[in-house]
Amino acid sequence: MTPVIMYSCRVSDLFRNTLSIVTAAITFILTLSLYGFVVGGGEIQLTLFEVLPNLEISMRLDLLSFCLAALASFVWLLCTIYSVDYMAKEHACGRYYPVFIFTLGSCQGIFFAGDLFSLFVFFELMSLIAYILVIHEETEEALKAGYKYLVMTIIGGLALFFGMIIVFELGGTVSLGVGVILQEPSMLALLAFICFLIGFGMKAGMFPLHVWLPDAHPVAPSPASALLSGIMLKTGAYGLIRVIFHVFSPEMLQSVGWNNILAVLAVITILLGSAVALTQTDIKRRLAYSSISQLGYVLLGLSILNNNAITGAVFHIFSHALMKSILFLAAGAIIWKTGLRVIADLKGIGRQMPVTMGCFSVAALAMIGIPPLNGFLSKWTLAMGALDAQMPLYVLVLLVSSLLNALYYLPIIIPAFFEMPGDNGHDHHDHHEFEFNIQEATPRMLSVMIILALFTFIFGLTPNNIAFSLSRVTAEFLLLGGAF
């Protein structure tokens, strides 16, 4: 709650690196301190002030918002630590850090928003501020990608506005604390649903609104891309969860079949994202397309609307945030150290930067869904959900996409470890085959990646870990009608 206000005030520039880390840490701790309260089933709905009659800025805390806020602040904290070294080479740090922290603030605002209007306000704030992160490099390419991002963001914002107006008109309120706002399906309600799909789906990179994503994510500085892909995409998914469970109700959506719109789009998103990722040669672009397909899993889970599927979706939000941050941070470390971005040039990089590539491999394997890692658990749960809903087709989609994941991640990992740098011919001298020419990133950057990689292990090993059980409880909580 208070974090939001705290952050905005603390964007001063003096000792900015330490200050940014401290702020991120404080947020994380504050968020965690809410744990006991939330798990006990607690829920807060707090109105700050009324903007218009029946339209207020309010805060709300429940399980779902806690999960996402804790995740966001955790990843953010690590990325801030990582940034300190990464950004030391870059220009305009005075702009970078305040914006970085400010985005965290508005992101937490999204997760703690108590009604659609405040959600919308924070959502727009975050999207617009993140623009500054996207174009940080100020190159021609970055500006172009940024412009695309900005226009899409504004279109998405307007769609949300339209949807919100319809909800307000039909239901007389936009608060998330009153349970289901729209009970009856009607043309306007369908229009609102589509508007929300456009607005939030845009952010989540849903097909066919994903076009900004592969341009915008790679051009940002790596810690920022990690956050854009790892966390900010999730705000879109979060918004959709809120809309599905608090504005509409799962029963109603299923009875009129509107969730099928989402399902179809999600399936296309999954397959298309993976397929296009295959053709990318730039490592960050490949990662960006992979984000699109991964978010498709979350959306698919949401569209199935049963206990297992929702658990899988929420847990996949966790796991994808961790995995994708590692991948982007590792890619960032490589770019930072060697300046290489093209995948073909990365042969033998595993010998030069073993730890970085080690973390990269762990995350990539998790993406593919190799058992002891968290990616497996989320796919397993999603597949269970699909089977519960008698939709084996979705399981097939998941499997195909895992195969595609393997196809585009393994060709990065294998040459990285088992081929020589610049190994073009076959008759290359063999004698320093096992020679490691170690030029690693700084310890600080490495430790961040290692911590994240450890978490992918921990969350994947057994289904009894904290993130998974939180997702399970959240799913039950949502299915029980959203507001107790």
């Binding site: 209007f117 704030l125 174009i135 504004i154 769609a159 506005f161 339209f162 008109e169 306007l188």
Partner: protein, 492 residues
């Protein structure tokens, strides 16, 4: 009520009186001239606030000039809506005037500055009169005064472009007033009254006998006020006039003058013509569609402009269309939205013209493509521009969103979501032409090449005030909206 019962008249009189003495003061006691105008505006503001409190307590108050009762005497009416308009009008003109103190010396010759003060006070006074009056003939007189002084504050710059623009404005404006007078005559012919309240009663009866006269009058009114308020397609004079005028004048014209005419048209629709007339011919519908077209075309024209002030002027055409939409949608929520937009747009557009003025003052640049990198040398100015454009687009947290919220809500309420789409599309268009300026100003690698004069403190302060108000309108809008809802409820 004591002394305060004369306030409606005094508001206008004080400003006209200041107009007379300010050239004298400027000649003999130059230091006192500007403070005199400020004092007059402050006094007027204070009177409006007192009246507003009284009206809230005791209800609507009619003032009879010289004690002559209507229908023969001149009547001023003080109701919440008019007083709200007056608060916006006078406080914004006070703010622009304070900004103008520094900018005028740069744009005008010293000897005419005293006259500028005169014209300024006359303009504000006549607008206050237009808002307050309850009598068609009086309205006609004040409109003439307003039109002439508005032309004069453009042509006072005395260059070729300004003279041409103000001449164009004068001709079209005179045409508008001519139409208006003709309309008034038609109404007088069939009813024998000029007072709004009497007309409203008499027109119900007269409508059965002389429907054609009344329709013609209504059509003439739409043309007259449409021309003056730059309702699409009668907007042709506006871009030249607003762009070539000195920046404080542009702020005044775009921020306030066109809105007063929109307000006058609102009074015609809601206080003069009874419902039967409006139901017989879809007059609101005509205004509504013209407004929808204006909202789109104003933005499209604005996109292709290369001159910053011209772009702002075209953007005004799109924005005034929202206000007309508020009138045309014929719903109390739409009125709230439209009138809230009067306030928001007055502040926003005035601030954007101030920004343009500061840029011209400090660098001499007017072309949009030369503004790249300017954010690094004029940070406060360009932040103001950013906030202003955010409000134009309707980004949450700024006032622009609130007015769009109400307009969209009422469009849904009467079951016409198409107008929500119009509003959204025009917001998107706004974003498309405002955002590149902001981006290039801050995020461009090229350095700003021109020499930069330091910006005077008072100009920076004015812009900061503008920004603060735009944000306040975005978050703490409840009191104003409640006032407007009460005021709008009187008409339904």
């Amino acid at each position: 009520m004591g002394f305060s019962e004369h306030f409606p008249a005094l508001i206008v009189v004080v400003l006209f009186f200041t107009a007379f003495i300010s050239p004298l003061l400027y000649r003999w006691a130059r230091k006192l001239a500007a403070p005199a105008v400020i004092a007059a505006l402050l006094a007027a503001l204070a009177m409006v606030v007192v009246l507003l409190i009284q009206v809230q307590q005791f209800g609507i108050y009619y003032y009879h000039m010289g004690g002559w009762p209507p229908p023969w005497g001149i009547e001023f009416k003080a109701d919440p809506l008019r007083l709200y308009i007056l608060v916006v009008l006078i406080s914004v003109s006070l703010w622009i005037f304070i900004y103008a103190l520094r900018d005028l010396g740069h744009e005008l010759k010293t000897r005419v500055i005293g006259w500028y003060y005169t014209l300024y006070s006359v303009l504000v006074g006549s607008m206050a009169g237009i808002a307050l009056t309850n009598d068609l003939f009086n309205l006609f007189v004040l409109m003439e005064i307003c039109a002439i002084s508005a032309c004069a504050i453009i042509s006072i710059k005395e260059d070729r472009e300004c003279l041409e623009a103000s001449f164009k404005y004068l001709i079209l404006s005179a045409m508008g007033t001519g139409c208006f007078l003709l309309g008034v005559v038609m109404l007088y012919m069939v009813t024998g009254y000029l007072n709004y309240s009497f007309l409203y009663q008499a027109l119900v009866e007269a409508f059965d006998f002389y429907p054609l006269n009344i329709f013609t009058a209504a059509a003439l009114f739409i043309v007259a006020f449409g021309t003056k308020a730059a309702l699409f397609p009668l907007h042709v004079w506006l871009p030249d006039a607003h762009a070539s005028a000195p920046s404080p004048s542009s702020a005044m014209l775009s921020g306030l003058v066109i809105k007063i005419y929109a307000f006058a048209l609102f009074l015609m629709f809601y206080e003069v013509f009874p419902r039967v007339v409006l139901e017989a011919v879809p007059l609101s519908e005509i205004v509504l569609w013209l407004a929808a077209l204006g909202a789109m075309f104003g933005s499209i024209y604005a996109m292709i402009q290369t001159d910053l002030k011209k772009m702002l002027a075209y953007s005004s055409i799109a924005q005034i269309a929202y206000i007309f939409m508020g009138i045309g949608l014929h719903h109390s929520l739409a009125l709230v939205g439209g009138f809230y937009h009067i306030m928001v747009h007055a502040v926003t557009k005035a601030m954007l013209f101030m920004v343009a003025g500061v840029i011209i003052y400090s660098t001499g640049v007017r072309r949009i493509d030369q503004l790249t990198g300017i954010g690094k040398v004029l940070p406060v100015t360009m932040v103001a521009f950013t906030i202003g454009s955010a409000s134009m687009v309707g980004i949450p947290g700024t006032g622009g969103l609130i007015s769009k919220w109400y307009l969209a809500l009422s469009a849904l309420e009467i079951g016409r979501p198409i107008f929500v789409l119009v509003i959204l599309a025009s917001s998107l268009l706004n974003a498309i032409y405002y955002m590149p300026i902001v981006i290039n100003a801050f995020m461009h690698q090229d350095e700003f090449k021109k020499e930069v004069k330091p910006v005077p403190g008072i100009m920076q302060l004015s812009m900061v005030v503008g920004m603060v108000f735009i944000i306040i309108f975005g978050f703490f809008s409840k009191p104003v909206v409640t006032l407007l809802e009460q005021a709008a409820a009187l008409f339904f």
